[in-house]
Subunit: 290 residues, 2 copies
């Protein structure tokens, strides 16, 4: 039995095929160009696997995931040129007479983390996963279900208390200026300092300012969801930055609710090499077969 | 068949008995004095009903609701004098050999609203309920389950972007100063203006400032949970204040996610006379019998 995974990102599609133990058997990286070209390559990739039983797609967005909506399976209004109003799921369904799961990129990641962590420790029933990269997104698994009823979470766009040393920075979100994404996404390094994130040493105060904002996001999701764990992935995140986030979080929480060991509670992904979404997709694809 | 409800508040306990249609057959208001005295009165009240099949308690808190914790059923560390570390559920279980449900006051309310609204419109699958009174609390129902894994939500204590006209006010939360509760709970009227909330006309700018904060709470829970509805109850809330909250919410959201008609989305409780928790308790009590 083979399971298919598409992790559809703004710069690349990772297509993969795995077995029922969620081991990757084959994979291909497809650059994200036009929808026609990219989806055709994805279709051709999976056509090679005769034994494919189901597929799961975790896609950049925003996407429509309410099954009763006529745009179910579409990428909706995205800033990514050419990709608004694209019937992603429908295109795949035209070519494959298989069950296909449809969710967001971060939902794929959080599900992979859930599968991996819950197998080791079944007290882990709920996870919040943030990605901090070109944008900021989040997915939440709670009792084996994704959070999101009218649509998927958009926790990248919450409002925050501003850091006193950062009041001159307007923020770069085109919708809200100084929401979380507008204050901590990768491109804020260029906007604040005129250089790329990887060029900014961890001793630069900008990292403390960003940690103050990310800690607020962790605080809010803690107080709202009381999850077992909060995971941060994405190009901006590193271990020293995580330590700063843990420090600010502990200070803000001020003992109000107990989250256990902060080193366990606020974590990087447990699956290395950005592999969370692929594992998550394999598991979601398999869930369609039972 | 009779179902029991205890809505345990910091000033009063509302004990009630209802039938399987969730109609109240009898009820009694017990002032909250010492735990011994108050719980004894509650026990004596329910002893009168021989046909009682189950009970649900929705209590002020914080409470322990993780069933595998040795303090399950306790009110934990509460500022309410005499009530910390009280084994509320255990005391009831000593006197009644019945199934007893145990949850927070706001979870009782949100469940009552869910039962009532879902019966009329089964697209309503998830509700966030805030109470703004002496404190600020919230309960969330999502796909027929309460949110909260390591514990119950504490959304009263989220951090917020401060209103430019309110920067001189420190906030009154003993833990966080200017969290949501510290900025909008009933006693903030006394702290800001030296008079009680009911004496402050809706034209006073303080109401706009408070609406700005409450709208942020609604925004955050929208972006995190994407619920079908957000309900505000409690002594501070009135229809004109709700209008201000809707206005600020719409401005902040700036079209980013569609929540449908804002008048439906942000609402007062659908059950009048503070009756949500009692209905919720009847339904939760009944759920123990199936
Ligand atoms: N070492 C680093 N430190 C800080 N920011 C980084 C680092 N490496 C990459 N970034 C930033 O992360 C962003 C890319 O995030 P990534 O998660 O890799 O991709 P995407 O979000 O586009 O899928 C870019 O804005 C990049 O500048
Ligand atoms: N009309 C009003 N306008 C504003 N605040 C009010 C009004 N009526 C009561 N309050 C405030 O609401 C709080 C009480 O809230 P309530 O929900 O009735 O009780 P509790 O939270 O203690 O269960 C008090 O701080 C009170 O001053
Ligand atoms: Zn934004
Ligand atoms: Zn607080």
């Amino acid at each position: 039995m083979l399971l298919g995974s598409i992790e559809a990102g703004g710069t690349k599609f990772i297509c993969a095929v795995g077995n029922e133990k969620y081991e990757t058997i084959d994979c291909e990286r497809i650059p994200t160009t036009t929808p026609d070209e990219t989806l055709e390559k994805a279709v051709n990739y999976f056509k090679k696997f005769k034994d494919l039983k189901s597929i799961s797609i975790s896609s950049f967005g925003p996407i429509e995931l309410r099954q009763n909506d006529k745009k179910y399976g579409y990428i909706t209004e995205t800033p990514k040129i050419g990709w608004s109003d694209v019937n992603f799921l429908g295109t795949m369904k035209q070519h494959f007479d298989l069950p296909i799961y449809w969710t967001t990129d971060v939902n794929g990641s959080v599900y992979g983390e859930y599968i991996n962590l819950h197998a080791k420790n079944n007290a882990i029933n709920s996870i919040v996963y943030y990605t901090i990269g070109t944008g900021v997104g989040a997915g939440v698994i709670f009792n084996n279900k994704f959070l999101g009823d009218l649509g998927h979470p958009e926790m990248g766009h919450i409002k925050l208390k501003r850091h006193p040393d950062d009041l001159d920075f307007d923020g770069i979100c085109p919708y809200h200026k100084d929401c979380l994404e507008g204050l901590v996404a990768g491109p804020t390094f260029e906007a604040r300092l005129g250089k790329k994130g990887f060029e900014v040493p961890i001793t630069n105060h900008v990292w403390d300012i960003m940690a103050y904002y990310v800690a607020q996001a962790a605080l809010q999701s803690t107080l709202t969801i009381r999850p077992s764990r909060i995971i941060f992935g994405g190009g901006v995140v590193n271990e020293k930055f995580l330590d700063k986030i843990r420090f600010e979080f502990t200070k803000m929480m001020n003992g109000y609710v107990n989250v256990g060991n902060i080193k366990d509670y606020i974590q990087k992904p447990s699956i290395s090499g950005n592999g969370s979404a692929t594992i998550g997709n394999f598991a979601l694809a398999k869930s369609l077969l039972s």
